[in-house]
């Protein structure tokens, strides 16, 4: 098979790398370009991040978001104050009852004592 022999020989010849005396310099050049590309990429990513951050901040400032957030905070503060005022008013109303606030506190204390007694009994029963 001379045809096949020749093609195999050609394959072999093509696969034999020529000897190049500047092979090391060539490799260094490629490594240098790789490093340069890597550094550029890092700088590029950093710059892109910075630009994206600046754009984000400018959008935030340009939008009504902060204004709306301020308004919402103000509304919440007003609502909280009115809730506190309501509680205070309720306390005052209780104090203004005909039997007075003392009677209420006394009833609460008696309730607590009754509960404590019930718990003690339950513990004694189940021991």
């Amino acid at each position: 098979m001379p045809e096949l022999d020749f093609e195999m020989r050609l394959d072999r010849l093509f696969n034999e790398p020529p000897v190049m005396h500047d092979a090391e310099a060539f490799a260094r050049l490629v490594e240098m370009r790789l490093d340069r590309g890597w550094n550029l990429r890092q700088v590029g990513i950093g710059v892109a991040g910075l630009v994206a951050g600046l754009v984000g901040v400018s959008q935030l400032l340009g939008s009504r978001m902060l204004f709306d957030a301020g308004e919402a905070t103000q509304r919440n503060a007003v609502a909280f104050t009115s809730s506190v005022n309501g509680l205070v008013r309720t306390g005052e109303n209780i104090s203004a009852l005909p039997f007075g606030g003392e009677a209420l506190w006394l009833a609460a204390a008696l309730g607590v004592m009754a509960l404590a007694f019930a718990v003690t009994r339950a513990v004694e029963e189940f021991q």
Binding site: F14, A23, F26, L34
Partner: protein
């Protein structure tokens, strides 16, 4: 005690795996090993040495970007050579250096082999027309099939096949052993 494994002691597939993880010195070792093969192929394809070196550098940079695609099914050298060959073909087509479908003009070297000298492949390739050189290099140097070469060159498959055949005939004549150089081309009876 197991010594530290330097890039030089690793197999191409291991180096490629390291390079895929971003290890640039590992890739540098691959360039050291296969740079000459890639540059040699580009020169055989017809590129001037400086252009061949530029394209070889671009090919290695492109290979670094895509090194995770290299699975070790073929050799690393063949893989990069294919990348380099495609880059050169792209450039060659962009610059419209010549028409691959144009009729070849017989060059000054003629078809007959020198009886005295046994010319090496690089010299023999110079006797081919640019289109033959390109087609033979793509198919034998870069391991590209005829169909792939036709697609890359944007030429009909038949044209690529005939360039390869004519190129092989010329190479056979040039690369014939000295004892066969006086007679017919070794192992082949001419062609149309």
């Amino acid at each position: 005690m197991a010594g530290v494994r330097t890039p030089a002691s690793l197999h191409d597939v291991e180096l490629a795996a390291l390079a895929a993880a971003g290890d640039r010195p590992a890739f540098g070792e691959l360039v050291r090993r296969h740079g000459s093969a890639v540059r040699g192929l580009l020169r055989r394809m017809g590129a001037e040495p400086s252009l061949a070196d530029d394209i070889a550098q671009d090919a290695f940079l492109a290979a670094f970007e895509r090194v995770s695609e290299f699975r070790g099914e073929g050799t690393f050298s063949a893989w990069v050579r294919k990348i380099a060959a495609r880059l050169y073909v792209r450039r060659w087509r962009k610059e419209s250096r010549f028409d691959v479908e144009a009729e070849d003009i017989e060059d000054g070297h003629g078809g007959e082999a020198s009886a005295a000298a046994r010319i090496d492949l690089d010299e023999a390739m110079k006797t081919l027309s640019p289109a033959e050189r390109m087609c033979v290099s793509l198919c034998y140097g870069a391991g590209v099939s005829h169909a792939e070469a036709a697609e890359a060159l944007n030429a009909p498959l038949g044209t690529v096949k005939s360039h390869v055949k004519r190129g092989l005939d010329k190479l056979r004549l040039r690369l014939a052993p000295p004892e066969g150089a006086h007679g017919e081309p070794a192992g082949r009876e001419g062609h149309a």
